[in-house]
């Protein structure tokens, strides 16, 4: 009886299993039609890790890469950095050429058809407002309580270059104008790479008439009429700010665009751009109807890409995990890694009395750095081409890197890991006890902590005693002499010629270690006043040689970067400069 029941139960189970194994229920009714395959999608979603906070990204408060991401396609500029890290002119917007070397004079002409998306022509008043805002020549009459220096009406992010430009001459409505420099300026080519703001809006908001191509504003700027300019400057400083976390956009009339796209709407940190119908250019005309920027924190970007919530991601500090997670997704996405222009380095405190005052100690520290090891652990798993970096002003991603490296032999002298050599140097310097080094780094970064552990392992053998000093407010402590002996952090290279001056010259604001060298100072003086691009490499080679001889700091490697996008999106080209991934977003298309 029992056997029979078991047997029939078994037979039944097998039968059910057999039945179940073959076939399945359900399925979709709709099959994608052939025709739809060919069509292009109307929207591309871009992930950014922080919400943009202002339409005018040239103010001190809003000069962030996340605003640049948007401004790349809503503002036209004369020139911008391309994917090779080189300056590329935008002929759609206008042309320019150097017409004289003494005084340095550059002639610009804006495209005849160039208009703001509200129909107002882009012309002289916009240029003049840009100059007024960035030249720092409009004292507000108020004193900075700390420095005692007078503050400017306009809170521009930087007055570099513009400060040397004389008041441009021209009339309302002019499309051509000249910039005459009072002294030579090395980066004249990239001067107008920052977005120009619509002057007719600023004038109107500042209580002036926008009629006559902005004649009233032009008069005020020409006459340096501080009282009249005050409300304009106030609007320029804050009037284009978005509300925090972008719950909505300002009034559409205030934010006309000069690029292939214009701002359309924003909800909860998600920003929508639509094709600018008034855009005149052919080369950079938008190919996709809508671009949507979604705020997604770095850690969540990979899953958002996999789920199709976003089409393009650019995680800001990718790790090995980011890469392996991306690779596991498979063919539906495209991953590209590369070296960025941001590089990691250790700065050394070398004022009189500091640990690294003696050149030999600095050299010994350089010799005991396990740089190869760090690259192997933190760079090559992400970017296989990554290598140790030996220069300070050129990153391996730039075309001139190898040429300069050849001309500066000192840069590779202390490059090899050499514990014995480091010991010998320390002995030469008369150090008998282990040299204590308090090494500061950002306490929020696991990567930095791991790097410091490797350094400690290696350098403690050579006669140093590294004391890790994780600090949350490390950035504020940089400028406080005595609060650290060495500090590990990153600099973002700009591709500009003269922007790093304050890092290396004596008393430079970003020369945190107190480095002092007369030769370096004089080379920099030449560099910043040189206007011939041909000579730059030569002078910088000399600079690199000197910086290496005197061991300014220890450079480690260029940080690796990762970009990934939906394989249906075409035209994406990662850009290692601060212009960022969206530099050519007008070209992007997405298959349905």
């Amino acid at each position: 009886m029992r056997n029979k029941r078991t047997a029939s139960l078994a037979a039944l189970s097998i039968g059910v299993l057999l039945l179940s194994a073959c076939g399945s229920a359900g399925g979709t009714a709709q099959q994608p039609s052939e025709a739809a395959e060919e069509e292009l999608a109307t929207t591309i979603n871009v992930a950014i890790s922080q919400t943009p906070d202002a339409y005018n990204s040239y103010t001190a408060n809003a000069n962030s890469v996340y605003n640049t991401y948007v401004n790349n396609v809503v503002h036209s500029t004369f020139v911008a950095f391309n994917a090779d890290g080189e300056l590329e002119r935008n002929e759609d917007f206008g042309t320019f050429e150097k017409t004289s070397d003494d005084p340095l004079t550059v002639k610009y002409s804006i495209n005849e058809d160039a208009v703001w998306s509200d129909g107002t022509p882009i012309d002289f008043d916009d240029v003049l407002l840009q100059w007024a805002a960035a030249s720092g020549k409009h004292p507000s009459g108020e004193k900075d309580p700390d420095t005692g220096a007078e503050t400017d009406l306009f809170q521009a992010a930087s007055t570099n270059g513009f400060a040397q430009v004389e008041l441009p001459e021209g009339e309302a409505g002019d499309k051509e104008f000249e910039f005459v420099y009072s002294e030579p300026y090395a980066d004249w080519e990239s001067l107008l790479s920052e977005p120009m703001m619509p002057a007719h809006i600023a004038a109107e908001q500042g209580g002036m008439s926008p009629e006559g191509d902005g004649a009233e504003l032009i008069e005020a700027i020409k006459g340096t009429d501080i009282e009249a300019l005050k409300p304009v400057a106030e609007f320029w400083n804050t009037g284009w700010n978005y509300e925090a976390d972008l719950p909505s956009l300002p009034d559409a009339a205030l934010i006309p665009s000069s690029g292939p796209y214009k701002l359309d709407n924003a909800v909860n940190g998600t920003l929508t751009l639509v094709k600018n119908e008034e855009y005149w250019g052919k080369e950079r005309a938008a190919k996709t109807e809508t671009l949507v920027y979604k705020t997604v924190v770095d850690e969540e970007a990979v899953q958002a890409l996999e789920n199709g919530d976003v089409d393009v991601i650019d995680p800001s500090s990718p790790t090995v995990d980011t890469k392996s997670a991306l690779e596991q997704i498979g063919e539906t996405i495209t991953v590209e890694t590369g070296e960025t222009l941001t590089f990691s380095h250790v700065d050394l405190a070398q004022r009189p009395g500091d640990v690294f005052e003696d050149l030999k100690v600095r050299q010994a520290f350089a010799k005991c750095m396990p740089r190869e090891d760090m690259v192997e652990k933190f760079v090559t798993p992400i970017e296989p081409e990554g290598k140790v970096m030996d220069l300070r002003e050129y990153q391996p991603a730039q075309p001139d890197y190898d040429t300069v490296l050849e001309g500066a032999p000192a840069a590779t002298e202390n490059a090899e890991l050499d514990i014995e050599g480091a010991k010998a140097l320390l002995a030469d310097a008369g150090k008998t006890e282990p040299v204590k080094v308090s090494l500061m780094y950002a306490s929020t970064s696991q990567l930095r902590a791991d790097m410091v552990a490797l350094m400690k392992d290696s350098c403690d053998q050579a006669g140093f005693e590294i004391i890790p000093q994780p600090e949350e407010e490390w950035a504020a402590m940089l400028a406080q002499p005595g609060s650290w002996d060495a500090v590990l952090f990153g600099w973002a290279g700009s591709g500009l010629v003269a922007s790093a001056e304050s890092i290396y010259v004596s008393e430079g604001e970003q020369n945190f270690g107190g480095y002092k060298d007369e030769k370096v100072d004089s080379i920099w003086k030449e560099i910043v006043t040189n206007t011939d691009p041909e000579k730059v490499v030569e002078m910088k080679t000399e600079l690199e040689q000197r910086l290496a001889e005197t061991q300014y700091n220890v450079v480690l490697y260029a940080n690796p970067g990762i970009n990934a996008w939906n394989s249906k999106v075409e035209g994406v080209q990662p850009n290692p400069t601060q212009t960022g991934l969206t530099w050519n977003a007008y070209e992007w298309t997405k298959k349905k």
Partner: protein, 510 residues
């Protein structure tokens, strides 16, 4: 009662005043608001410092800054005059619009999650208490402790993988092999058998019925393309309305009194009639229409149920109202689901998003917009629910067990009351008292404590506002956050105290 509320409000005001003072000084002493500028240089740094000093009144002594904040707050309390901004953040932007947008998304998130966690937690808690020391009880204890100790960022990663990425892929072509359908049935059968309990024969029967029912239902859903075009439809709605009526009657009255059963069925009929009649009205309604229709249905069902109820007029009317309300929710759900195919197509066939609180540029009608909200709510709501669920189950179980061992429960049983009456009328009501306190705390807590949930799911809510504010030592947003969360905490505790008076006859409020 009025006196009690007035007294509590006055006390609450002083508590809030003291708390905001403390909070303000804690925030401004928590760090250096200019610390992020260490790396900057040149005119940018100077200009930023100047701009920030002006926006945050950094040139004033701390006490003055607090008074200036109080003044900004005063502008909001006194109508007319200066605009209400609640002060500015460090970039010089007004805080109020940020707060409004943050509250909107956070309330949506927290409200739904808390309600679901509460209902599920209480129901499961009571069942575990009734089935104490059974397999079901042990399993739930195990599961709730696992959930309670899950770190949210990890849970959210799992949810995104399985409930969004994989589920979306499956939804593109929803099918299961028969073996899977069978296995789902078996699992459901086991769960029901364990829940219902009883002797071996009864458990086997429950297992068989539940397994078969689940498998067949799943098979039906698959072959009718329910996952492609979901919704209840007229037939599904009729069956659901009947089921809802029977369920509520079984729970609240039992089937012994036929008149109440008839009243319940009348309510179901009223609800169903409402469903048919409202089809044209609900094409693209607004919230007012929806709520008005719901109210009307409930009112009609209340009257009709009372009429049919005869001798049990009061109870029948109340049960009818509950039934009509439930059917109203079902109708809402049905209409919401009808918008699904279009939304799914718009999202490229991947309807469940892993990030964001709404789709940009949707420009759809009422149903599209709200279904879009709902789809964005799925993952974060599950995450918050799973974690709050644990607390609610454990508390409910403990307090229900406590009550069940009381003498008056034994007395109730001894005088021959049905088990249903003992559980629902005598035990449950008293077991709810501690849960009320818990709920008050939980809601206020989740309101400000959903920081990680908001971050991982890309919501701009209160938590993010608070954390960003603290990081940048910016008192404006932090104080705005604190005003809302603090007021909510004070208010909900007051509501809990008032609720006591209704639940527990020994408490009076005067």
């Amino acid at each position: 009662m009025l006196f009690f509320i007035a007294k509590r409000l006055v006390i609450s005001f002083f508590i809030m005043a003291a708390a905001t003072t403390l909070m303000f000084f804690l925030v401004i002493s928590s760090g250096d608001p200019l610390s992020d500028l260490g790396e900057a240089s040149g005119s940018a740094k100077k200009a930023t410092i100047a701009a920030r000093t002006e926006a945050m009144n950094l040139d004033q002594p701390p006490l003055m800054r607090y008074f200036l904040w109080l003044q900004d707050l005063g502008h909001c309390l006194v109508p007319g005059g200066v605009d209400c901004t609640l002060g500015t953040d460090r970039s010089g932007n007004a805080v109020l619009p940020q707060l409004e947008s943050a509250i909107g998304s956070t309330f949506r998130l927290v409200l739904v999650a808390t309600v679901i966690a509460l209902v599920l937690g209480v129901v499961v808690g009571i069942v575990t208490a009734i089935r104490q020391y059974t397999t079901f009880d042990y399993s739930i204890t195990f599961i709730s402790f696992v959930l309670f100790s899950l770190p949210l960022f990890w849970l959210s990663t799992l949810l995104k993988q399985y409930m969004a990425i994989d589920l979306n892929t499956w939804l593109a072509n929803p099918q299961f092999p028969y073996l899977t359908i069978l296995l789902v049935g078996v699992v459901a059968g086991v769960i029901w058998a364990v829940v219902v309990g009883g002797d071996r024969k009864r458990r086997l029967a429950v297992f068989g019925i539940a397994a078969a029912a689940t498998a067949v239902a799943l098979w039906l859903l698959l072959v009718t393309g329910w996952f492609v075009t979901p919704g209840l439809g007229p037939v599904g709605m009729l069956i659901s309305a009947g089921a809802v009526a029977l369920l509520w009657t079984a729970l609240l009255a039992g089937f012994r009194r036929r008149r109440i059963l008839y009243a319940a069925l009348t309510a179901a009929a009223v609800g169903y009639a409402g469903y048919l009649l409202s089809i044209p009205l609900l094409a693209d309604p607004n919230w007012l229409t929806v709520i008005a229709l719901l109210g009307l249905t409930v009112a009609v069902a209340y009257a009709a149920g009372g009429f049919v109820g005869g001798p049990y007029r009061g109870r029948a009317a109340r049960i009818s109202a509950v039934i009509a309300f439930s059917i109203g929710l079902l109708i809402f759900l049905d209409r919401l689901l009808q918008a699904y195919p279009e939304l799914s197509a718009r999202a490229g066939g991947r309807p469940i998003p892993t990030t964001g609180s709404e789709s940009p540029n949707l420009s759809g009608g009422f149903w599209e917009t709200n279904l879009d909200y709902a789809l964005h709510l799925i993952l974060p709501t599950i995450a918050i629910t799973l974690i709050s669920f644990a607390t609610y189950t454990r508390y409910t179980r403990a307090s229900q067990l406590d009550v069940m061992n009381q003498d008056y429960i034994r007395t109730a049983r001894a005088k021959g009351l049905s088990e249903r009456t003992v559980l629902v009328k005598h035990a449950f009501r008293n077991a709810m008292i501690p849960i009320t306190t818990l709920m008050a705390f939980d809601f206020a807590g989740v309101l400000g404590g959903a920081v990680i949930t908001e971050t991982v799911f890309g919501w701009n809510g209160m938590g993010k506002m608070f954390v960003d504010g603290v990081h940048t030592v910016d008192p404006g947003p932090v104080m705005a956050f604190f005003l809302v969360v603090g007021t909510a905490a004070v208010l909900f505790n007051m509501l809990a105290d008032i609720a006591y008076a209704f639940l527990d006859p020994r408490i009076t409020l005067s």
